[in-house]
Each structure stands twice: as structure tokens, then as C-alpha cells.
Symmetry: C2
Subunit: 376 residues, 2 copies
């Protein structure tokens, strides 16, 4: 089980959270073939760095790939990977489950994370399920709505005053010292869990493009690694083109990509309705940047107005997503994809998570006596 | 395709919404065997009264059956059927999808429902997906939170002033007159869709007991019909004992059952936190009552305090449900189930749907400089 830094190349024989150069590490590529099995953990059993603790699974993964009519106006075949139907209603559960499987096996009694949204709820939920203590660090600005969806699982929710970016690194350092395994956004086991999204897509279609809402870069790296491993294992003929999608109001990766910079820079004064992808200094930013250039992939940013329109379009197909999950659809307007291209957009989390900021629809009033008129 | 009234026995050759005697109708039992297939619609293809319109499926059904440690204290084997990971995060999607498949085939241009919660969102979502108009009748008292989760899908949301119980019957009558197919709580196609829950459970375990949160009675009837058809088809050896679970503050079925009444009576001044199962005069109440007596099944009611405790216990296993979904777990305290019994409890809908009324967990405060102390 060897880990490698995708930036400086240094290797590690034992699991570490990050490279000495401060960049993330990742497991070396797995090459194998699938089995017959009911869930993605079983079917791709040899592709995981740790044995999935299936007795604690909540049924994460194996989400529907929904054929969408929204591709028609762009002349493409569009599919929506609906990650909102995971156990805590976001893609985070895949990575959380696998990293928690490792934490349990490695003998940790406690796990932690730094998040105010989907990941916090996911880690809190799985910690309860696995019987581990949870330390959930949330930012000062976390809304009551979000904290409720985290606190319900019974973990130790701690609101931290101070720089949120520094908290990411401090938590990893202190966690190792105190025996708390932090499953932050780009924890190497978490990334491995996200590979399942690529595996499941490849079981159903051979996409030409995959649109991935991108914040810390963890999800993007996981999906990229999944497709790469399938390719290197000879299971798919061609790698799809992956597109990182960011919100214009917080797009450090797209900016560095366009400006030809070697490293991302902190995005000052981030402002977007897509809170779930509003990391101004993404810890896997440089690693994503390198992937984009190495494979000739792309990065697109979309405005809040375009995101809202994307959200509205998806709801018009029966899929209510949080703003971050609508960025892929919004990006279609800006990508001039070839006629007939097969495109998958990842719907990362449920719209119920951001209900407070969802505009109320129009409501008509009707007295019961006038029901017939109201129905016409 | 014959329908039959389970109360008076009258049969109908064409789909009707209800029997002339005002009771619900149901399709005669299907007897067949399963196929190999990826989803429940394909595997039990010959058990549906209409061809499922799979091109419009959002991936409803095929939900996880989660093994729970909450059974230990009762000496039973407990499994949780997690319906909160359906496309609109409740079990309603199964019935909505099948009924919508019929509406489309029958040439309806519009569908409707009477609901303020899960079913309203489900029908609005699938109507958009199927390209049909939606008429969603909600009660005067519907909260803004709930209406947002319905309005987002773009249907015609109509708040009706007047008796909500009468609205159920009026909508069916006017709907047929005006060409709007109402998919209310016990629409016969909707009931058929719920059979999938029984089918999927039987694919994994042979339960001795199934605990079913019960309001209108539609879900109970669907699961009962599913198991009965499996039994009559020779696919399972024994019928499980089904237990209808109601909230004490609104338990018209349990009350009539215990008092030996032939018919349910309106439950005056219903009051419970489990709003999703607070129908004071359930349209399938008499049909459920008949099933309970015919098969020697049971009905249990639980208090709001017990429901809250059940919700807390489930969250402690990583499953955040709405109050109605915690009634099954709450009922375990009142049922003296035999040692080693295999029990399935149905988790009907996501806790995110009732976030507003979820108590905020405890939150600690911590300055970044003291992180190490806070972590210890």
C-alpha cells in the first residue's frame, strides 16, 4: 500500500494525510478487474486500498444514472449521476465510508472533519454508525440549518473562531498527535471512495465528457483516478474529458488554469450561492491543476444566475439539487461540446440541504367551493 | 386488468379511483415469478398493472436494507428499509412513478394530488419528469418549508381553504370530469408501486414482522399486497406479520382495531409531531382494518416522546429520518417480539424534510489557538 505525492513525487509506505511538501498524497494506481457483486464495493473489490467494512455500510453508492432531456438543446446525450440519494444525501458518503473503514481497522477510536455542510453530516453519521467518536469542526459562519443536519447524528460539533483554511492543516496535525483520524476533503482514503462514481458510470455508458462541481478538488481527483485506473486496467478504451466546474465567485482553480499559473492562489472575497463549492484555497487545487494540464482537460466557471437557472432546469426534470450541483448543467451553455457527445454531469447533493435559500414557488389560493374552476 | 373493492367485493373492468361504496379499489392479485433485472420494475415485471415507463424513471426503489444494531436490546434481528434515498427522498416515489406511467399511457395531460408533504413533492417532481402538468392541492396550514420543497418542481401549487378530508373526494370526482388523473394516497396504481418494498425485502430476508408507519393506509396496503402476491405465487413460504404503527395523537385505525369497531371513525383534534402520518380519517382505514383482522396482524400507537427517542436512536446509527419514520423503532418498546425474530422497519422519509422542527444539537465553541485542548 504505497502513497505518492502527485506534485513532488515523494512516496510513502504507510498512510499519511499529506506530503511533506504540503500537497496531498494519493494511493498508487490499482490495476485489476471487476467481480460480480451487488454493490460497487464488491464489484470493484480489488480497487480499494482497504477492505470496505460492509457490515457498517449504509448503502452508499450505486446511485442512479438518469438520462436527461436537457441535452437536446445542445445536441448531446446527457446523463445525470444522482448522488443526492446517498444515505446523508450527498456524494461525501462514499469517501466517508471508505475512510471510516480504514480508521476502524487502524484502531482509531475517534474521527474528525472540517466542514460546515455535506461532509460534516456525512462524517457525523458514519461515525455513529461505526461506533466511533466524531469531532466535527465547523466555521463561525455555519448556519443553524446546516448545524441541525449535522448535530442530529450526535457527534461533538465544535464551532471554531479563526482562519478556516488554517484549521484544515491544524486538524490534520493535531489529529495524528491525539489519535483522531481526520477525514477532510482530500483525505487519501476519501478520494479512493469517490472512484466508485467513475466505476459505476463506466458500467453504464462510455462518456466523452464528465462535468464535476469542484471545490477542494477531492471529488475531481477521485473521479479522475477512477477513470484512469479503468483505462490502465484495459477496462475502458478511452479516457473521458473531465471538466472541473466552479462558481465564478470562487474559482481559484479555473483562474490559475486560465492564467497559466503553476499554483493556485487564494481567491479573495469569495461570494457565491454555491456554498458547497466555495473553498477559496482548495487543498487539492494544485493537484487538480496538474491533472487538467496533463490530460488536456478543462475548467469552466459559472455565475450565480446561471447556477439558479441550472437548478431550475434540473427541478424541471424532477431532480432538486443544491446550487453547487447545478453548476455542471450551467456549464453546458459555455462549453461548445461536439454533436452527439455523451456527457455525464454529477449531481453532488440534495436541494433539501439548502431549502432555506430556495425561492418559494408561486402559490394560488382557492376556496373548496371553487375547486372546479381552480382545476380547469 | 380487473379491480376489486376489498370491502364490498364489487369488481371493475376498467381503472376507477374508488368503489361506488366509497371504499378504495385494488387490482386483483398478480401471481407470477421474478426475472433477472437491474431494478425492481424489471425483476418483478409481471406483477405491475401497467408497463413501467422506464425511460422516465428517476431510479426510485431498490433502496438499501440496512442491518441495525438497535435490535440487540430486544433480542431480535432488526433491518431498516431506507426509503429516504428515493429521488424525492420518500417512499412515495415508487407509487407516483407507477401511477404516472399509467396516466401517461392513458393519455392524461395533467395529474394531481392532495398532500402537503412527501406526496406533493413526489407528484410535482414526476409530473415534470414525465412532461405532464401537475395540480398540487395543499392545505391552508402547509408550512413554507414544505411548500418550498414542492414548488421548486414547477407544478401548479394550489392552497385550498376548506375541509381537507372533503378535498380528497372532491379532487377525485372533479379530476375524472376534467381529465386530471389524481394520484392521491391510495390510488390503486400507487398502491401497486409500494409492492416493490415487499419484493425487495423478500429478496434479502424472510421477515417475521414488518413495522409500517400508517396514515392513509396506502403504504400498508401496498406492502401487504406485495407479500401476499409473493406468497400466493409460491415465492415465499410464510407471510410476515405486518404491524401498522400510528402516532397516539392521531391513531384512528389502532383505535377502531382495539375497540373492535367495523369501521374507523374520524380522529378528532389530531396532534402529533409525525405530520406525515396525521390523517385523521384515512381513506384506506377500513381496508387496513380488514387486513389486520383477516391475517391476525397488529396495530400499535406511539407517543411523540417515544417517536423523538426513536428518531434519536436512528440518527445514532447514521440514519436521519422524519418523525413519522421513527414510529416503527418506537413501537419496538411496546411489542413483545419473540427472541430471534427477524423484523423490518420501514423508514419512510428523510429527516431533512422536517429540519425546522429538529432540535439543534449541542455546539461547543473553540478559538483556533486552543484547538488542541478542544480535541482532547
Amino acid at each position: 500500500m504505497k502513497l505518492r505525492c502527485p506534485i513532488c513525487g515523494k512516496t510513502y509506505e504507510k498512510p499519511v494525510q499529506r506530503c511533506e511538501c504540503d500537497e496531498p498524497v494519493e494511493f498508487e494506481a490499482f490495476r485489476s478487474e471487476p467481480y460480480i457483486g451487488k454493490n460497487v464495493w464488491e464489484r470493484f473489490y480489488d480497487f480499494w486500498p482497504v477492505k470496505p467494512a460492509l457490515e457498517f455500510s449504509l448503502g452508499e453508492g450505486d446511485t442512479p444514472l438518469v438520462k436527461s432531456r436537457l441535452g437536446r438543446e445542445f445536441g448531446i446525450k446527457l446523463y445525470l449521476k444522482n448522488e443526492t440519494v446517498n444515505p446523508t444525501w450527498s456524494f461525501k458518503d462514499r469517501g466517508t465510508f471508505l475512510a471510516m473503514s480504514y480508521a476502524l481497522k487502524a484502531g482509531y477510536k475517534a474521527v474528525g472533519t472540517v466542514s460546515t455542510g455535506n461532509m460534516a453530516a456525512s462524517v457525523a453519521a458514519y461515525a455513529s454508525r461505526f461506533g466511533l467518536k466524531a469531532k466535527i469542526f465547523v466555521s463561525e459562519s455555519a448556519s443553524e440549518e446546516k448545524l441541525k443536519a449535522v448535530g442530529v447524528y450526535g457527534g461533538d460539533v465544535i464551532r471554531v473562531r479563526g482562519d478556516y483554511g488554517r484549521l484544515y492543516f491544524e486538524s490534520l496535525k493535531l489529529g495524528e498527535k491525539l489519535g483522531v483520524h481526520f477525514i477532510n476533503s482530500d483525505n487519501p482514503f476519501r478520494i479512493e471512495g469517490y472512484k466508485g462514481i467513475a466505476f459505476e458510470i463506466a458500467e453504464e455508458v462510455s462518456p466523452d465528457y464528465v462535468l464535476i462541481p469542484t471545490s477542494s478538488g477531492g471529488l475531481f481527483r477521485g473521479i479522475a483516478k477512477g477513470f484512469t485506473e479503468l483505462h490502465e486496467s484495459g477496462l475502458i478504451d478511452d479516457l473521458p474529458t473531465l471538466i472541473a466546474v466552479q462558481a465564478e465567485g470562487c474559482s481559484p482553480i479555473c483562474r490559475a488554469f486560465k492564467e497559466g499559473k503553476a499554483k493556485i492562489e487564494r481567491f479573495e472575497n469569495p461570494k457565491t450561492i454555491a456554498k458547497a463549492i466555495a473553498n477559496p484555497y482548495p487543498p487539492s487545487g494544485n493537484a487538480v491543476l496538474k491533472l487538467l494540464r496533463e490530460f488536456g482537460w478543462g475548467c469552466v466557471s459559472v455565475s450565480d444566475e446561471e447556477i439558479k437557472e441550472g437548478q431550475r432546469k434540473l427541478a424541471g426534470e424532477g431532480l432538486f439539487v443544491q446550487p453547487a450541483s447545478a453548476t455542471g448543467i450551467a456549464a453546458l451553455e459555455k462549453l461548445d461540446l461536439p454533436e452527439g457527445a455523451k456527457v455525464v454531469s454529477i449531481l453532488t447533493g440534495s436541494g433539501l440541504k439548502t431549502l432555506k435559500n430556495t425561492p418559494a414557488g408561486k402559490i394560488r389560493e382557492c376556496p373548496l367551493e371553487e375547486l372546479e374552476n381552480c382545476l380547469r
